[in-house]
Amino acid sequence: MNPVPETPGSRSPAVRCTGVYKHFGEGEARTEVLRGVEFTGDLGKLSFIVGPSGCGKTTLISLIAGLLSPSAGRVEVFGRSTADLSSENQTLFRRHNLGFVFQQYNLLAALTAAQNAALPLLTAGVPRREALRRAGELLDRLGLGNRLEAHPRELSGGQQQRVALARALIHEPRLIICDEPTAALDHASGESVMSLLATAAVHPDRAVIVVTHDTRVYHFADAIAHMDDGRIVSWESPGSRKPSAQPRPSP
């Protein structure tokens, strides 16, 4: 499963969710988490999915990442339905096309900052020396050039999230998914991480989707999808800051 090729001139959305439903459990234990989600994530944009806890944000990005399958509806990433791929091909699809930033960083405690950042390259079979060299260069650009050999426990929360950002960017994926990237950080660190994300990750051929309920960083968004009770209830356009009652689905 190779990276999805860039198609010059093509501006179709990187992510398109159409009528997506997701439930967990059966019978009395059945819980409806998503109830007909319509969502698009465009290339070259920083799209936020916001909403209260339990509204289905994390489930939605798990579906987009191919970590879960929808109960109904269709999730397309770069025109491919990830649910139609085999488990092995889903893994390979993520390896080549997706980068992740998590709320709790999820850095491996046993590895140094450079080794953590190099993980996607190592997974893809890039020789260790080359992977670490590239990780070092990227961490340098993200302001961690002097902490390459530091282990996660020796780094502050903001520094750990920057390492996680480097891990998400190192293999130049076309879609980056961030789950509450600033939730565990103070305001200054959160601003710093989001600023790096906006400058380093946003690219005409890359889409960035951020799940957050940290209102302090909403100003970084190009588009904000408001979720509630398993649905996208409104879209907010950049600059306007006026939530629109209509969903903003497909072009």
Partner: protein
């Protein structure tokens, strides 16, 4: 990717250490017991294998091992010599009798009388003195265990005396004979001297040692001897095998096997359980690796590398410990036959690797079932 797994393993020092210690102790226990068992079984045939000149042993039909001393008719020796395919045949007299020293030390001994002129049946290696010295009347060779028993604390020396049936025998050599299964002191002398000490039996031949002619199949010669003498003729290997089987079927090996099995089960259980805990505690990291595109095959190899390192280090430490303990025990004269055969070391390590490998496979199934979406929780 495998080095990444090793870094993760090394990072959790407590579990890494616990697993190595578990493997090391299991390997030590298994190898120690297996070494003792195999050494004991090999000792049951040590006097048979010590006689390198002969390749055929002729005994009474119901003799199962070397320690069952049931004399054959003396005339049988001539019949064996006359059997087609036999190059030569010599008598060996074995007597279990009581010996004592002037100092009052008393013990049952195994006395072997070899044919005076050929000396077939004497130990090949000597620690002190010359084996041929037993041609002189009333002289014996003694093994190191016997010397330490009769002359405790004294340095090995020649000229000391031992009394059997009021005859005084002079020690003219300390042999390096393999230790006997019975643990009795082993004395070698000439058949003439031995015959004078053989007060309980009229017959003076316990075993007939023979050699098949070059080009003759030893098994066929054995058949001919058995046909002509009505005695039992076996090759050295056959007699040694019979002896080991005879003692091996007495039940004692079962006790050792139980201990070995306990070592295997306990070692594998502790290692497997700790490995499973290690996997569970690293579930989030493993799920993250799956999210970023690590395949199950890659994770499987990572876990195999982790298990391989644990087994390698644990096996090295355990085997080293077992070999060192064997070496220490061998310093005791009567335990000089104890050693750790390479095949025992390899077999124990392999069996532990297989059982532990099963536990690792179970851990891997946990990883396979691990939900990658759990990293978002």
């Amino acid at each position: 990717m495998n080095w990444l797994g090793l870094l993760m393993l090394r990072h959790d020092r407590a579990k890494f250490g616990a697993m190595i210690v578990a493997v090391a102790l299991a390997v030590f226990l298994m190898q120690n017991q297996a070494a003792i068992l195999s050494s004991i079984l090999l000792m049951t045939a040590s006097q048979i294998r010590d006689v390198e000149e002969a390749n055929l042993w002729v005994t009474e039909p119901d003799v199962e091992c070397f320690d069952q001393a049931k004399p054959v008719r003396d005339i049988a020796l001539h019949t064996v010599r006359g059997t087609p395919g036999v190059a030569w045949a010599m008598p060996l007299l074995k007597i279990d009798t009581l010996a004592r020293t002037r100092g009052g030390k008393l013990s049952t001994v195994c006395l072997l009388g070899v044919e005076d002129s050929s000396l077939v049946g004497l130990p090949r290696r000597m620690r002190l003195g010359k084996a041929e010295s037993v041609r002189e009347r009333d002289t014996v060779l003694i093994d190191p265990g016997g010397f330490s028993l009769f002359f405790p604390g004294e340095p090995p020396s020649l000229g000391k005396t031992i009394q059997i049936h009021n005859r005084t025998l002079r020690v003219v050599g300390i042999s390096d004979a393999s230790p006997p299964f019975t643990g009795l002191p082993l004395l070698h002398t000439s058949r003439t001297t031995a015959a004078q000490l053989n007060v309980a039996e009229e017959r003076s031949t316990t075993f007939i040692l023979a050699r098949s002619k070059p080009g003759e199949a030893p098994d066929e010669v054995c058949l001919r001897i058995a046909e002509r003498t009505r005695l039992r003729a076996r090759t050295t290997d056959g007699f040694a095998r019979d002896a080991m089987w005879f003692y091996g079927s007495q039940g004692v090996p079962m006790l050792f096997m139980v201990t070995i099995a306990i070592g295997l089960v306990v070692g594998a259980a502790i290692t497997g359980q700790t490995f499973l805990m290690f996997v569970k505690e690293n579930a989030r990291s493993l799920a993250m690796l799956k999210v970023v595109g690590t395949t199950h095959t890659q994770l499987g190899w990572m876990m195999a590398a982790q298990a391989g390192l644990i087994l390698f280090l644990g096996s090295c430490i355990g085997s080293g410990l077992a070999a060192a303990v064997c070496e220490l025990m061998r310093q005791q004269p009567f335990l000089r036959g104890l050693y750790l055969p390479v095949w025992v070391a390899v077999w124990t390590c392999l069996s532990l690797a297989i059982v532990t490998g099963g536990a690792v496979v179970l851990s891997f199934r946990q990883v396979q079932r691990l939900e990658p979406a759990s990293v978002f929780r």
